[in-house]
Symmetry: C2
Subunit: 130 residues, 2 copies
């Protein structure tokens, strides 16, 4: 097995280990809301259009549509509704329930980041190479 | 967009949303230790053999080897050493540094789980369907 490089970056702050937590909400063992899903909900809420939300995130329309569809099916009531026609050709919006789920997710995400920030110093001390 | 099912599972505890956090240690934007990596380190520590560790986790030997190699390269000193030959045909063990990294990871993982347990009740209250 090849050995690791021994020297570079020991004093380079970019090389300090950082803690990252990815939050997922599961319902019945299956992912009901992931980071990608939450980002998609945020963009739908911001621009009221699934295709524009997908574009901003660099998702294909198909991927975005399937993600919304999976979330809508996983939760007891839909997170996103889509209207067709009308003056502006329809659009996608978060339901009240979808807004509450997204806010709940963001709240926990902030708590998680605060916890990891706090834990980082101890972690970095503990793994300093001797 | 198909609508979600409205009825099932509303009072089924298996259907209550649960929070799950996946911890990754990054060095210079790249993953240096993931859940899979930590589980592999734990198994190497338990059975002192990379092939046995891989088998227990259902990883191919190739996947396990590449994961160890990537971790060894990412950290300033290796997490795993492999010896060849000898009475028992060689084996893999965690270095002292590898043990410290693994312990640090497990510590933070426990803190993360405790934090998510605490946050779950509020989250579930906030996303009760009306």
């Amino acid at each position: 097995m090849p050995r690791a490089r021994q020297t570079p970056g020991r004093h380079d702050p970019r090389q300090a280990p950082r803690l990252r937590g990815k939050l997922t909400v599961e319902i019945g063992e299956a992912a009901a809301l992931t980071e990608a899903g939450a980002d998609l909900l945020s963009q739908i809420d911001a621009c009221r259009s699934l295709s524009e939300a997908a574009r901003r995130l660099g998702f294909s329309y198909r991927r975005a549509w399937m993600l919304v569809d999976a979330m809508n099916r996983r939760w007891p009531t839909p997170l996103v509704t889509t209207s067709t026609g009308g003056k502006h050709g329809g659009g996608s919006t978060l339901t009240d329930f979808g807004l509450r789920v997204l806010r709940g997710y963001r709240d926990v995400q902030l708590q998680l980041e605060a916890m990891l920030d706090q834990a980082t110093t101890d972690f970095q001390q503990g793994v300093k190479p001797v």
